[in-house]
Symmetry: D2
């Protein structure tokens, strides 16, 4: 059995970890930490966990948590706050999967520029492994600190990595038009997250300035060996859509040479062969309803001979493959168990 | 292993059966029958089943289906149509769980009155067991034909049975104001099911004439030994709400004597003690988000001393406890395996 | 021209007043008051008012507002807070339409009991007129202080008044099961108002304890001359539904004698004859989509011969007939102009 | 008074025309034509028109309609079907505003290619004026046949015309990523329009092949004098979003030279100066909730110095500025009355 703890249990990501781990045959809860709700019974806040394997759990304060028999900790905290906790846990010898943006950059300077604050643990940052399993499976096996990728980042990278690896697109004209459900914004009390402001509405936000831009660029640049001011620059536009879960990323690239639809398809199929959670659709584009509640990422492809552009569309559930599910996938890799353990659920439809 | 077949696979209930059975360790697909989609691969219609245990399945015609190694058949067909198929399967010696209204009435005459058509198999109807496990667990164990209860009916009965059993309410003033998500209407092409007609809308429908009224009355009347024109009459008002899944039933009854909130609570807790899927909330009323995607029914209670009325609110997912999940619960009982096998998933939240 | 001011302009009700008054040919803005946004231009907060007759408006502080040429003030403030402002404005000789619950009760004691606080201006409260135009049109003409009715209250009373006036129902068994969109909760920052908590969810709240219960009872009791402990008691259950606008009230009553559907229909048609904003449907029940964005209240009726109960369903837009539209209707009556001036818009459909 | 008739009254566009014309002081209904609902009273289908100026209207068959005193006809029919009706009406000497795609192309060959059928009235097509008032106001004044622009087309063109007119962007790298509410799909009975298929879902459709692509290209090409195979080619990707009304178009272009954000802003402000329905936002991006129910198109701009791209975002209500409102704007221009007559309503918020 893997004994896990969560820091930040009562936010959406924490609860999603519990929902998924409830069906994970190898996982057992050690400490469920929540400073805001410490002392309360989990089931009093979330009655859906009655009679579950977590039904006896009580939330504890971080300061009072006994992590002595914990094998792995999920830290589901805001960036900045997360750093200190992660450093402390790391120094205690614990394995950590961090859901924040704090350890996702190989180049600490990029983090500091986009997050506009000093990183307090640059040394630790160097040890962190970016937890996109499809890219870093071998490194993850041996890692002690995983930086779980951002949700938009996962959707964008899974769509772009095969092309960048193959070096067949113009790296200076990548456009990612991404649409996200509202759960990506977390359980925070902002006017912009109110039902009345979101429903029957849609909008773009942080246009040309969203932090996930840099996270995408960081990985792609490294993939093709570009550094610093030579790094790849993408144009990333996030939109808020009135659904709870799901990201649809519509990606536009220019192909350097002529390719048929079939050749493109083959590149993706080969790249993702054997991957348990990435699926290439034929002759259709993915829809959010095909992934909600599941850890799958679906990819659709369309080559437009008129404009010589390739359109790649990826769909995933931001709470699962974009957050909690991917974290558990990382956990499974670290502990050497079957990668889809506890993650076999399929889309809840309709 | 239990080998199951489905007649009517590609409707919402059929697909929900597959979603749930995909995670049922004892279930294996024999024939997935769909006359409208026969010949197609399941994954071409529903890509969410790629790489699943059903990924190799192809839909077959009912007439061509080989059911020789099938242990149990789920019939997910419209009422009327279902009768003939069920009779045929029954005569072949198959166990059947029927999702339609065709075999839910102990009194065939009531069926004929509310459905306004002759029942072709009254004899078979007498052999059918009404598949509300919380009421008929023992009969279900030995049954060959289960009539899976209607979704509204399940939500209403689970709220009323403890009171009727205890004989503590006025049986002539029961009001059930029920609200349902749209998946209850199935995948049928009607103007009233269009997104543009449903979204940002709500309405009551079939006021005072909905067929589920009679299904509720049939069970309650039998429970307290009332028959024919002496039978219990309830006022049942269904409403359509712009959500996909979920039923919330607000039930109003008059208590014959004075009871405290605690006494009422105790009656329910005792009645449902040990039930794996019914939970009584304390000091709060259930919300749909606490059950979506799960087989649980939550019940909240509020005694109003001003009007001497008791308000009972029940919440369940009409696709799971109200249809496919309850059917699998019945299957588990029939085959003597743990009742919650394959049904342990908790609410998808948010 | 009628010069109006608003206290509490930037909340949902304030903005809805502006949306409607923008199309009112006789209305002109004097002061748009908002202490939280004072100094800002209206169009910077709400770009939809660019190039409108309010496009030059800047929000001002209550303390600094010059109300010398104001004819009427709409106070859109929380109860309790509203009292002091209303008293002050009243003493300045201004006409006021108050959107809060502070002046809606003829019996101050009932207010104090349900709102659990002392009313500071009981004398003023006696002068206030309850602004349900369909009930109090003549009194409103001469009023200086209008208490604009609550949204649930409007939906409930318009459904019940004809029956209570005719004295044909059992006054001890009235059940109102009401469903509301989320805009009724205002623009307040609460977890329960977040998109992720409301969407694909529904719930009952304040069961048997919602304040609007007493507001409904206060009017009905007076209508039939019942007082104090003899007053009518209704059971009122509000539900939150994932739509932005709209209330659907499903009302259950027992008729004292036998009536045909036609007789009931006639009672309503006669009672509301000539009313510009109340419409009785024949052979159908109202839907929210038929009233969204408009000041109309639709009423549907169904007599159930099985249970001898009458089901009345009313539908209105809580932001219009339930708040801002009704306030303007009151204003029109006070100033003796055509009652539907500025309120002629029909439902936005789909 | 302008006497109008509608062919295709009971679809969404027809009803939206009535909703808007109900508040148009110069418009009066002549014939409301609907072959599918002929003989029925309008208010029996749409109770929201009770007591309105259309409350006496009965739907009539096209063949039986007396158009002798009609000044202008709105044809709200599917393309293909529309041609014959329009030709017939034109020959009777009637002015026509056609909502279909049939007469929107200056180059008939482009129509025939993208719609994959022969145009039966190429001569008439040459006489039609493309009804984007902001582009063709003078021509519209004298036109007898207006082709009302497509909804996506309006959103795209209003965002691009200033740049193309100024000739400051690379015409070979225009990407339009558009998101639409479901009302754009009309009231047609398709599985893909069902609530259960659309809600909590999103998807792209007709990727790289949507007909509106050619309509956009046709106008832009003409604007810069490019013809035939030299014509501008844009990449247009429509997405379906679970809202009823609204289009958000996110447009990506490459600037040929360096411009500051201010310079770009000034170009748009100058181009649209005096336009009653186009508004350029400063320092913010438009949201659908700012335009729902209104005839306004809001435009936001963001120059990204990192990638040298300009992002233009436009928002409009597809039922109003994208269909019925724009048609009435055209009508107003034709009859020489104030352009915003009947179109002054602002966004319904929240």
């Amino acid at each position: 059995m893997i004994k896990f703890s969560i820091v930040g249990t009562t936010g959406y990501v924490g609860i999603e970890l519990l929902r998924l781990l409830q069906q994970h045959p190898e996982a057992e809860a050690a400490c469920l930490i929540s400073n805001s709700q410490a002392g309360k019974a989990l089931v009093d806040l979330y009655p859906q966990f009655r009679d579950s394997k977590f039904s006896g759990c009580r939330l504890v304060n971080y300061e009072e948590a006994d992590l002595s028999d914990t094998d792995i900790v999920f830290t589901a905290l805001p960036h900045g706050v997360s750093q200190d906790i992660v450093a402390e846990l790391y120094n205690k010898g614990l394995k950590i999967i961090d859901m924040s943006g704090d350890f996702r950059y190989t180049d600490t300077a990029v983090y500091e520029k986009w997050y506009n604050e000093k990183h307090k643990y640059p040394k630790l940052n160097e040890k962190a492994v970016f937890g996109l399993v499809e890219l870093n499976r071998e490194k993850i096996r041996k890692a002690d600190l995983i930086a779980n990728p951002g949700c938009y980042v996962t959707a964008s990278l899974l769509g772009l990595i095969p092309l960048v690896t193959k070096n067949i697109i113009d790296l200076d004209n990548i456009i990612i038009d991404a649409k996200s459900g509202v759960s990506g914004a977390g359980k925070s009390l902002k006017i912009t997250n109110l039902f009345n402001e979101v429903h029957e509405n849609m909008k773009a936000y942080n246009v040309a300035t969203h932090r996930h831009t840099s996270e995408i660029e960081n990985v792609l640049s490294e993939l093709c060996g570009r550094k610093g001011s030579e790094g790849i620059q993408v144009l990333f536009t996030p939109h808020l859509i009135p659904i709870k879960r799901g990201i649809l990323a519509t990606i536009y690239v220019d192909l350097k040479d002529k390719y048929s639809q079939e050749e493109i398809m083959k590149i993706y199929q080969e790249y993702y062969q054997g991957e348990p959670f990435v699926q290439i659709l034929e002759d259709e584009m993915p829809e959010i309803k095909q992934v909600v509640g599941s850890n799958y990422c679906l990819i659709g492809l369309k080559y437009d001979p008129r404009t010589d552009k390739l359109i790649i569309i990826t769909a995933l559930d931001n709470m699962v493959k974009g957050a909690a599910g991917q974290a558990i996938q990382n956990m499974n890799v670290i502990f050497g168990i079957k990668e889809n353990t506890g993650l076999e659920a399929r889309a809840v439809y309709p």
